[in-house]
Amino acid sequence: MLDVRGVTKSWGTGEARQQVLRGVDLTLAAGQSLALTGESGSGKSTLLHLIAGLDHADTGSITVAGQEMTQLDDAARAALRRGTVGVIFQQFNLIPSLNVADNIAFQARLAGRADPALTDSLIQRLGLQNHTAKYPEQLSGGQQQRVAIGRTLAARPALVLADEPTGNLDEDTGERVLDLMLELVGESGTALLMVTHSMRLAGRLGARLHLERGRIAA
């Protein structure tokens, strides 16, 4: 499902140039889950963004569902994000102008895979049935993150990328959200790559990789 080979990425130019990723390799098969841990600034989020096609790697290759990311133009990468990859952000990044129901259905409809029954079921299981008409700014952080998870899973992506999905939530809420996410991902047979700096949360996934100064350490 996912094959990352020798990926490097740096920010800035000249003396201010900062090497963020220094040749990262990883693979992830369908239905597997992998935690990517590391200190702040180790390059976890950058790697996730490169895999999602949100940015370009300087060198190396990233293959998602058989498509080599470096060969794709902007529109093709957007199509890949739309149809194959689902991203859950730490900051939720819901669409402020759409209500909860529309936010959850948005990516699925965009991918041409709208399934009202699945959407309704996700809304029920995420406990959002009383909030469907609300707008993101009217929700708590936990509720917003549940909407973000619902939005990703409603589109039935082959690969879910989660960037510290509970990082903005308190411990209890974070636990509950993660339980739900793992349960839903497990049911759908989707591959999951989750970035976290919490060893405890990482331990709940099938495998773990530690990123240190832009390299896989273990």
């Binding site: 989020s45 963004h49 990468r77 900051q91 669409i95 759409l98 939005r151």
Partner: protein, 796 residues
């Protein structure tokens, strides 16, 4: 202060927007004021050309000139009079009104400024003496074939004082004096006038040509336009200030939390706004001067063509104008900032940061806006039904425009909601929902666009309707192919005999000046001829009106007289020699005077002294040139005494076009300001759009697609605004044609629709909105992913 000002350092474009908006608003307002002030000063100087108050005069019968001997006789008989020769001469540099005066008998105090002292000088006297003119007139006349010019400020523009012999020579009136002015303190035992100069007439003091009153409507019109442009400019300022205050809200809160008193914070913000207002105001005044300088030649031409007012096409700088320009800039800034300052004054210290508070507050304000729009629409409707007068008409217009602009966000909000409901795809749904959410940030610019478009449609429809009516009316009124004026009654008689077998009809056009319903007017006599029966533009008439006119059963009156004095068929009008029934009303565009039309025979019977020199000739159009040449050759008629129909029409249309040049120019400027408002709003909002766009991009919509949607959004909003502007513009046109024209000029014009013009305007507004949205859209299309990713890394 440093913390507050750092905002502008970090956002120079926002600062530029604010300054440009304010400068443009001030420029358009102060430019119009400068034009008005210049014109009014000209009227004042013209009105006091011969003293501040009108005096009685002595003339020959029917206002004709007298011999110089009459002056000597009058002075010897004890009459304290001063002679006057007056007339307008043509120069290569335009017309010049010449006033021949006698400095020995005319009190120097009656002349403006130093003119009296200058004239009472030996070098002024004699046939080779100089002319005294105003500086701007001297500049215009440079190179003209005229006597030496003495330049004195204070002289009315377009006027030249000269000694009597100089004026007589220039006006070709040797030995003739146009009138004598009666001076104050006349001796009691004077010989009666009839014995001194038999036939001379003592005319009571005539009220001066009240140019200021006559042109009030024109200046009010300009002021309304200036105010509209100022309002459009203020929308930009309001948008920029609102955004700047919103973005600085966290800084205000921090400063307050650190112990800065609210009063000090407000004082600092006020000082900042004052400095910005003064800087932008000064730039605006300079820009306004340029605009006024560019427009004033056309304004002068309009005032000359429409009212006969003499205004030089140059602009003088007045300190009061500078001060009022700065004043209006400060006042405008204050108006635009008052709600933002109020919000700062009420800023709760512990409230969490709410980046979208501004937008949400604006959405909540929609309800209030709707209520205010309804109230103003009701006021406007009430004024249509019950109001009267020019001021009421302009208040009605203002209320209508403000109501429409306040209602616009509400209408757009509804349209976006409807669009969202009807949308099928997720992107379309997001597009409508996102556009609706953007409305608060764009509504001020869109309101400005609505005002500009409505003004454009309204004024355009008015001008085009006027042109259509006017050209049709010219065709009706100028039915004769050639108009000829004989120089003497004998020549007229000889010409008539000669013309009889050569033309299809000879239509006498004889007229006298008379007081009609208390104001100066004219009475015309017309022959009973199919030319009038078939062509005359009657608005209302009794049956068989032309038979009755020919029989002397009554008269026709022009529309302006009918409306002013409420004279309609069935009324009786007071005329010299007795009242006459009004049998009909005809349209008479462009004529500031009341006019009465009666049969030729009844007119001659009533006014036997009428001058019988003018005739309209019905002749085949291709025979006009030969007939004109024959009249010049056989009768020695000056070419100026022959006017063919085509020339009059061309001249009338030329006057018409110049009349509306200023309106059109201001229209274009207002539309440009609105376009600028949209550009600045879109550019300013572009920076705030990332949190809305980044998630959609992350979910799989390419940057190019987002950019296209941004462009489409601007086009949709501009198109919807144009659709809303159409009924508002037509309403504006109706008010201008049916209310303001009647109040200002005394005639009502029919409203015609010009869908072709609307299509052009719609295309223009779409191009303007597209051009304004292009830069922000290109920015999105080319935005580095890192910037979009930044949204995911930072708290919104």
């Amino acid at each position: 202060m440093a913390a507050l000002l750092s905002h502008w350092r970090r956002r120079p474009f926002q600062l530029l927007t604010l300054l440009l908006g304010l400068a443009t608003a001030t420029a358009l307002w102060s430019g119009v004021q400068a034009i008005n002030a210049e014109a009014r000063s000209s009227y004042d100087r013209a009105a006091s050309a011969l003293g501040p108050t009108p005096r009685a005069t002595i003339t020959g019968p029917d206002g004709t000139a007298l011999d110089e001997a009459a002056f000597v006789a009058l002075r010897r008989a004890g009459w304290l009079v001063t002679p006057l020769v007056e007339g307008t001469m043509a120069t290569a540099q335009g017309p010049l009104r010449v006033l021949g005066i006698d400095p020995f008998t005319l009190p120097g105090a009656d002349l403006p400024d130093q003119t009296g002292e200058t004239a009472f000088d030996l070098s002024f006297l004699g046939p080779d003496g100089p002319l005294i003119v105003a500086p701007e007139t001297a500049a215009r006349l440079a190179g003209a074939d005229l006597p030496r010019l003495i330049v004195l400020p204070g002289v009315a523009p377009g006027l030249a004082y000269g000694d009597i012999p100089v004026a007589q020579r220039l006006l070709d009136r040797q030995g003739r004096l146009d009138r004598f002015i009666l001076l104050d303190n006349q001796p009691r035992n004077r010989t009666p006038l009839a014995e001194v100069v038999p036939g001379a007439v003592l005319n009571p003091p005539a009220p001066g040509n009240d140019m200021a009153g006559l042109t009030d409507s024109f200046h009010l019109n300009l002021t309304a336009f200036g105010l509209l442009s100022f309002a459009v400019g203020l929308f930009i300022v309001r948008g920029a200030i609102g955004l700047a205050f919103e973005q600085r809200r966290p800084v205000f809160r921090t400063l307050r939390a650190l112990g800065l008193p609210a009063r000090t914070l407000l004082a600092l913000l006020l000082a900042e706004l004052l400095v910005l207002a003064l800087v932008a105001g000064a730039a605006g005044i300079a820009l306004g001067y340029l605009i006024a300088s560019a427009l004033i030649p056309d304004v002068a031409a309009t005032l000359r063509g429409l009212y006969g007012a003499s205004v030089e096409g140059t602009l003088s700088i007045r300190p009061i104008w500078w001060l009022s320009g700065l004043g209006i800039a400060v006042l405008g800034t204050g108006l635009a900032a008052v709600s933002s300052l109020w919000q700062v004054a009420r800023l709760p210290l512990l409230a969490p940061a709410q980046p979208r508070a501004w937008a949400r507050a604006s959405e909540a304000a929609l309800v209030w806006q709707g209520a205010a729009a309804l109230g103003l629409a009701a006021l406007s409707g009430g004024l249509i039904l019950f109001g009267s007068g020019l001021i009421a008409a302009f208040v009605m217009l203002g209320a209508l425009l403000v109501a429409a602009s306040l209602a616009l966000p509400l209408v757009l909000y509804g349209a976006m909601w409807l669009g969202g409901r009807m949308a099928r795809g997720p992107l379309a749904q997001w597009f409508w929902a996102d556009t609706r959410q953007q409305l608060p940030g764009l509504s001020l610019a869109l309101m400005a666009l609505l005002l500009a478009l409505a003004a454009n449609i309204g004024v355009g429809t008015m001008v085009s309707s006027f042109r259509l009516t006017f050209t049709g009316w010219l065709d009706q009124r100028l039915a004769s192919e050639l108009y000829v004026t004989a120089e003497t009654p004998e020549q007229a008689q000889a010409m008539l005999t000669w013309l009889e077998p050569r033309v299809q009809a000879i239509l006498p056009i004889w007229n006298i000046d008379a007081d009609l319903a208390g104001r100066p007017g004219e009475i015309y006599g017309v022959a009973d001829h199919p030319t009038y029966r078939d062509n005359w533009p009657l608005i209302e008439a009794v049956p068989e009106v032309w038979d009755k006119i020919a029989a002397g059963d009554g008269v026709l009156v022009n529309e302006q007289l009918a409306r002013r004095a409420d004279l309609w068929p069935g009324s009786v009008i007071d005329l010299p020699g007795g009242g006459a029934p009004v049998l009909g009303v005809y349209s008479d565009y462009g004529n500031p005077l009341g006019q009465v039309l009666m049969g030729l025979a009844p007119m001659v019977a009533r006014f036997p002294e009428v001058e019988r020199l003018r005739f309209g000739l019905r002749v085949a159009p291709d025979a006009v040139a030969k007939l004109s040449a024959d009249l010049v050759n056989d009768f020695g008629l000056a070419p100026a005494n022959l006017i063919d129909q085509r020339s009059i029409k061309a001249f009338s249309l030329q006057v018409f076009e110049r009349t509306f040049t200023v309106s059109r120019a201001l229209n274009v400027l207002t539309l440009s300001v609105a376009g600028f408002a949209i550009l600045t709003s879109l550019l300013t909002l572009a920076a705030m759009r990332l949190p809305q766009l980044a998630p959609v991009w992350a979910l799989g919509v390419a940057r190019g697609g987002l950019a296209r949607l941004e462009l489409l959004r601007a086009l949709v909003l501009a198109a919807l605004t144009m659709i809303c502007a159409l009924p508002v513009g037509l309403m504006l046109a109706w008010v201008l044609l049916a209310v303001i024209n009647v109040e200002a000029f005394g005639w009502r014009l029919p409203l015609y629709l010009f869908p072709g013009d609307w299509a052009v305007l719609a295309a223009l507004s779409l191009v303007a909105a597209g051009a304004a949205a292009l830069l922000p859209a290109l920015r999105i299309a080319r935005m580095p992913p890192a910037r979009l990713l930044g949204v995911f890394a930072h708290e919104r």
